[in-house]
């Protein structure tokens, strides 16, 4: 799904969630190659390494968004989740929400025999040896009067070379990885979707 279309859909769902027309909802999508900038994009633009020409040649577009976080990349083979939740009345804690998203992803990864961990100070889910963890899932969230949007991006079979176009999340000294790379075997997207749905339902229900 095109990033802009998904963005519009999210905005609509946020309003519908606020009006009570829909309940808590999880959108799962894959995007064509796209670089997105967090709301603090004055800093984030400096974290795009590639030139406009390089990006155009690779068919990668750049979008500014209203989410938290720095710059990130989305593309085929990456499962992007947009939970549209009303955190009121008893879940009004933005950090707790981010930790919950991480927890859901850690549980989902466990289904594939992967131990995902948190790295203090660096949001997202990481794998690998301590001190040299690689990022497998990124998190960037927007909360509008306690209705959530944006969310997480989990690398399944993502072309990791595309992350070299940016400094992911503005963190220069860390690598990114994917489910496929960690397990060393092909992974079906539908299996990952099911694992993520089950895990998120578990955490947020």
């Amino acid at each position: 799904m095109d990033y802009v279309d998904a963005h519009e859909l999210q905005k609509r769902l946020v309003e519908e969630r606020r009006a009570g027309v829909i309940g808590d909802t999880l959108l799962l999508v894959e995007h064509p190659p796209v670089i997105t900038l967090g709301a603090r994009n004055r800093i984030a633009v400096s974290h795009i390494i590639a030139s406009d020409e390089q990006l155009a040649a690779l068919g990668v577009t750049v979008h500014e968004t209203g989410r938290g976080g720095d710059v990130t990349y989305h593309g085929p083979g990456q499962l992007v989740g947009y939970p549209i939740l009303d955190l009121r009345p008893d879940r009004c804690d933005v950090h707790a929400y981010v930790r919950d998203l991480e927890q859901g992803l850690i549980v989902a990864l466990a289904a594939f025999g992967i131990e995902g961990v948190r790295v203090p100070g660096l949001s997202g889910v990481w794998v690998g040896e301590t001190g040299r963890e690689e990022k497998i899932a990124a998190i960037g969230v927007r909360i509008s009067r306690w209705i959530t949007s944006h969310g997480f991006a989990l690398n399944v079979t993502t072309n990791l070379d595309h992350f070299r176009l940016i400094v992911p999340c503005g963190i220069a000294d860390r690598e990114v990885t994917s489910l496929e790379r960690v397990t060393g075997r092909p992974v079906a997207m539908v299996d990952v979707e099911n694992a993520v749905i089950a895990a998120m339902r578990n955490v947020f229900a």
């Binding site: 633009v45 938290g68 804690d93 933005v94 707790a96 509008s144 009067r145």
Partner: protein
């Protein structure tokens, strides 16, 4: 009058950064209308107004970070006491003392606040439910302050913005007409950043310039004599390396050129981190050599070529371009004999190195041929006076012309 506080969006959250104000001083705001956006860690949140009224003051600007519960703005004419049952009449917005807020737009009539006891037509009820509206924020214009469909439409459309009077600068003839022989291209992100940065610097610093002529005869001889030995160690002995070394040592002598201006304070930086401007095919970037004064000439050679190469291959990391305290730029590469560079903020000085050319000069009343270069120092007169700029260039000139061979 009520205060708007930086909210605590979570137990472990101690501070927040305001990334955007949706309203300005003088704007009217309704209760629960989005007022500003904050950013904490990985989360951006839109914060609704705690009250209805007119914004009289904004205390925390975009980009600033403050502890939770800090007052970020004040709102006057608030409809305090939303829990009251009967219709309450809002007092006319008090003119707050000492704060220059634009006058409150006339409301036209008394502004009753609807409560649940107020009659709502079915269509209005439906709209209120569909949009999850809080009636206390809506002005009723119907009979007895009744809220009409138009009131809800007006509310949903948002408050009327105060349109600033057009300034002369805003009225500008179009640069081109359809059909003109032009090509129009969107600026790259880097182009936009350079443009912003340069204009900001010109607005910030009081630029002045001094130019000295430097004899490179001795450095040229030493470079020739030692180049092969350096090359054997994988280091390319360039004039830039000699210059970087001499500049770093001179900055240690002249701390005022390795500083920043912070309001009425001077920040002297102990670290000497030299930015070296590298031209790219499109645009430029300034990688930084950290602690340049503590590096041997050979290490400087290696650092400079590594950074320049990675800059051209777009492989620089964020930390490679951060923290510069002084910049060297080299118009001489393209044959420029001198240049007048713009300071890279928040630094206070920048050195432009002209091309090194053989020129006829007079030494001991003899006309001789020497390799010469013009060095131009651009500096911020807010902090550095002409005499200081001269002293810097004099010291730099001496270091290069009488280069200490033991440093090779």
């Amino acid at each position: 009058m009520s205060d708007v506080l930086m909210p605590q969006m979570g137990e472990s959250i101690a501070e927040g950064t305001i990334v955007r104000w949706m309203k300005g001083v003088g704007d009217t705001v309704d209760k629960d209308e989005p007022l500003f956006e904050i950013s904490t860690d990985k989360v951006d949140a839109e914060i609704p107004s705690p009250d209805a009224g007119v914004i009289t003051e904004i205390r925390v600007l975009e980009g600033e970070t403050v502890p939770v519960h800090t007052v970020v703005a004040t709102i006057s004419g608030s409809t305090a006491g939303t829990g009251t049952s009967g219709p309450a009449v809002v007092p006319p917005a008090a003119v707050s003392t000492g704060i220059a807020a634009p006058p409150v737009p006339p409301v036209g009539r008394e502004r009753p606040v609807a409560s649940e006891s107020v009659f709502l037509s079915p269509v209005v009820k439906k709209m209120v439910a569909a949009h999850g509206l809080d009636l206390t924020g809506i002005t009723g214009s119907g009979a007895a302050g009744r809220i009409t469909k138009r009131d809800v439409d007006t509310y949903l459309a948002g408050p009327a913005k105060v349109v600033p009077a057009a300034t002369p600068a805003a009225v500008r003839p179009a640069l081109y007409q359809p059909g003109d022989d032009v090509r129009v291209e969107k600026m790259s992100v880097m182009r936009r950043k350079i443009a912003d940065h340069m204009l900001t610097s010109l607005r910030t610093s009081a630029h002045i310039y001094s130019t000295y002529e430097i004899d490179f005869g001795r450095v040229a001889d030493l470079r020739k004599a030692h180049k092969a030995r350096y090359e054997a160690d994988g280091a390319n002995l360039t004039y830039t390396a000699f210059i970087a070394q001499a500049v770093a040592a001179t900055l240690r002598e002249c701390p005022y050129a390795n500083a920043s201006v912070d309001g009425d304070q001077i920040v002297f930086r102990n670290e000497i981190n030299l930015g070296i401007a590298v031209a790219l095919e499109q645009g430029l970037i300034v990688p930084v050599i950290r602690n340049a004064d503590r590096k041997a000439l050979k290490d400087l050679c290696v650092s400079i070529s590594d950074l320049a190469q990675r800059a051209r291959n777009k492989q620089l990391k964020v930390e490679d371009v951060e923290g510069g305290t002084f910049t060297i730029t080299n118009p001489g590469i393209f044959g420029g004999i001198w240049g007048l560079p713009i300071i890279s903020q928040p630094q206070v000085a920048i050195l432009a190195v002209g091309s090194i050319d053989k020129r006829a000069v007079v030494i001991d009343d003899e006309v001789v041929v020497r390799p010469m270069a013009y060095f131009t120092l651009g500096y911020d007169h807010r902090l550095v006076d002409g005499a200081d700029g001269g002293r810097f260039l004099q010291a730099l000139k001496r270091r290069l012309e009488d280069y200490d061979e033991t440093q090779l």
